[in-house]
């Protein structure tokens, strides 16, 4: 701010000052939107290309990354490949179930970490961080050996368990971030006005942290749909969408 102000002042003193300031202002008005547009373009290009290929006229025999004209053919045949459809359904179901479970558990973890001081609080925080930071290959391998050790048959259930496991941390961290600056007196005020603990949670706490919960749930859903490495370790014979795609290419 101060740098800009000084420069403006010196320009006003010199010849043609106001004109230059206006030029600067115009420059500022254009640079930021252009920069933003470039960033958005950069982020959206891969997605756009994929969507574009959905309309690409190519031979079904070989995968060709070349534009062959517009068609809706692939959309007509979207559910023709039974393996793909099944894998997609699996992924949606796993994502939905694991998101619901992980969101509930993760939110409870966040509330506990925010509200209470207890033995093992530091350890809980450490584990959440480790869960996010650890390479997926480590998580996947260790989960697989765990399931094998206890003789748990690999399938949809083990995939859900695995997805809940890594999603709890993401939900907890997101909800906790939302709770930063949350005034505990607000909950006390609700109780003071006659709300029991459940009403306090539903009427006051939940609406206030809901944006965090929603963000955590969306993140969890996306991570679940997307996950390949961990899923590949614990899926047994079940195919999810990423695994099918990997096998098809």
């Amino acid at each position: 701010m101060s740098i800009v102000a000084t420069r403006d002042a010196s320009l006003v003193e010199g010849w043609g000052g106001p004109k230059q300031t206006r030029k600067q202002r115009r420059l500022r008005r254009f640079v930021l939107p252009i920069y933003s547009a470039l960033v958005i373009l950069y982020l959206l290009t891969p997605i756009f290309i994929i969507v574009l290929y959905g309309f690409n006229q190519t031979s079904p025999k070989k995968v060709a990354f070349r534009w062959g004209g517009f068609t809706l053919r692939w959309y007509r045949k979207a559910f023709v490949l039974s393996g793909l459809t099944a894998a997609f359904k699996n992924s949606l179901m796993i994502a939905a179930i694991s998101t619901i479970i992980a969101t509930i558990l993760g939110t409870l973890v966040a509330l506990a970490l925010f509200r209470y001081r207890y033995r093992g609080k530091g350890a809980t925080e450490g584990i959440l961080f480790a869960n996010i930071a650890a390479p997926e290959i480590v998580l996947g391998a260790s989960l697989l050996s765990l399931f094998v050790l206890f003789g748990v048959p690999r399938g949809i259930r083990t995939i859900i368990i695995a997805h809940v496991m890594f999603n709890i941390a993401y939900v907890a961290v997101t909800v906790r971030a939302r709770m930063a600056g949350f005034d505990r007196a607000i909950e006390e005020a609700a109780q003071d006005l006659g709300a029991n603990p459940l009403q306090t949670f539903i009427r006051v706490t939940l609406p206030l942290i809901f944006p965090g919960i929603l963000a955590g749930a969306l993140l969890a859903f996306a991570l679940s749909i997307d996950d390949f490495i961990i899923t590949n370790f614990v899926s047994g014979a079940v195919e999810t969408f990423p695994i099918w795609v990997y096998g098809a290419v």
């Binding site: 005034d183 007196a185 006390e188 005020a189 109780q191 003071d192 006005l193 006659g194 009403q199």
Partner: protein
């Protein structure tokens, strides 16, 4: 007044090793404006929170309106609180904030509308029902917090430093408003503050607290004119204290020889028990300062000193005097256009009426952590 509204019997609260409230017994009458006054860490807020139900006493019993509420949660007590941070619900508008308590008690919709309107009028905030708390100024939030509590017509309203976040001018204005509202609604107010002037202005009675104990409970006048302890004398206004020894007691008065050898007369009633070493005090504005010539007038207490500093503050002159035995005494003289004709370095004497003398129990000096707020 008459009927007792709040009664605390030997209430103690410990947080781990810290004794926050120490064996506190207190009664507040129906319709009273009662203040808990003390430095930070004196236990006043903890006391308030125990009455509100946010902390469980370690020992002791709390009665509200004759009913033992010691183990009741906040939502089962007929008490409402105005929090220091206001604690308005940020996701609800002003109307819904105020209506929150009524909705929890299943009051019907027409009634809610009427009572919310009334209570917003009471706090002088009509017409902003659809605003969110974030769109209000600090003073407006304060009023909404007050309306939200009062709309429930509680038996007792707890106020935890409610004006602490407001600037001085607004605070003065809100002090008068609060007093007016309390008169209008007739609800018992229990007010927690560390601001002695605020407590004095607003309260019917006040309790001065320190280290989790009550030092004195009385009317503001009584606390100011006859502080019970050295701490109270220092916390509420300025005071001059002198150590002395009781020489004789007769006919409702006692003679005390103070440091430096002067004998002063104090009301016997202010002496408790048979102590002989005492601390006596007098407020600066009760003292007359004059040149030390001839005999002091009879019927007045008198000590000698040397004038150090004379300051003119418009409404008054303030004098700092080196008193007997290394004490420093302060005198406020109202500016009546005929101030004492003295200059720094002059020998002076300080005169005051015996009935303006008080005797205090000695206290430890105020620690630094108690002063910050």
């Amino acid at each position: 007044m008459g009927e007792t509204d709040v009664r605390l019997d030997q209430v103690t609260k410990r947080f781990g090793d810290v004794l926050a409230v120490d064996d506190l017994t207190l009664q507040i009458d129906q319709g009273e404006f009662f203040s808990l006054l003390g430095p930070s860490g004196c236990g006043k807020t903890t006391t308030l929170r125990m009455i509100g139900g946010f902390e469980d006493p370690t020992a002791g019993v709390i009665h509200l309106g004759g009913k033992d509420v010691t183990n009741l949660p906040p939502y089962r007590r007929n008490v409402n609180t105005v929090f220091q941070s206001y604690a308005l619900f940020p996701h609800l508008d002003v109307f819904e904030n105020v209506a929150f308590g009524l909705r929890r008690h299943h009051v019907d919709r027409q009634e809610i509308k009427r009572r919310v309107g009334e209570s917003l009028t009471l706090v002088d905030m009509p017409g902003l029902e659809r605003r969110k708390p974030g769109q209000l100024s600090g003073g407006q939030q304060q009023r909404v917090a007050l309306a939200r509590a009062l709309v429930n017509e509680p038996k007792l309203l707890l106020l935890d430093e409610p004006l602490g976040a407001l600037d001085l001018k607004l605070r003065k204005q809100m002090q008068l408003e609060l007093k007016r509202i309390q008169k209008d609604v007739g609800i018992t107010f229990l007010y927690v503050t560390h601001d002695q002037e605020e407590a004095m202005t607003m309260s019917n009675r006040l309790a001065v607290m320190r280290h989790g104990k009550i030092e004195q409970i009385a009317t503001p006048e009584e606390v100011y004119e006859h502080p019970a302890t050295e701490f109270v004398a220092g916390f509420l206004g300025a005071s001059n204290l002198l150590e002395g020894e009781v020489k004789s007691r007769h006919a409702g008065v006692a003679d005390v020889v103070v440091e430096g050898g002067s004998t002063v007369t104090v009301p016997d009633a202010s002496l408790n028990g048979s102590e002989s070493r005492v601390k006596i005090g007098v407020r600066p504005e009760k003292i007359r300062l004059e040149e030390d010539e001839g005999e002091p007038p009879s019927g007045w207490n008198s000590v000698r000193g040397v004038l150090q500093i004379a300051t003119f503050v418009g409404v008054s002159h303030q004098y700092t005097v080196d008193g007997p035995a290394g004490t420093t005494l302060t005198v406020y003289a109202q500016n009546l256009g005929s101030g004492a004709n003295v200059a720094p370095g002059d020998r002076v004497r300080l005169l005051w009426r015996p009935e303006h003398t008080f005797v205090v129990r000695p206290s430890e000096p105020l620690a630094e952590w108690e002063e910050e707020q």
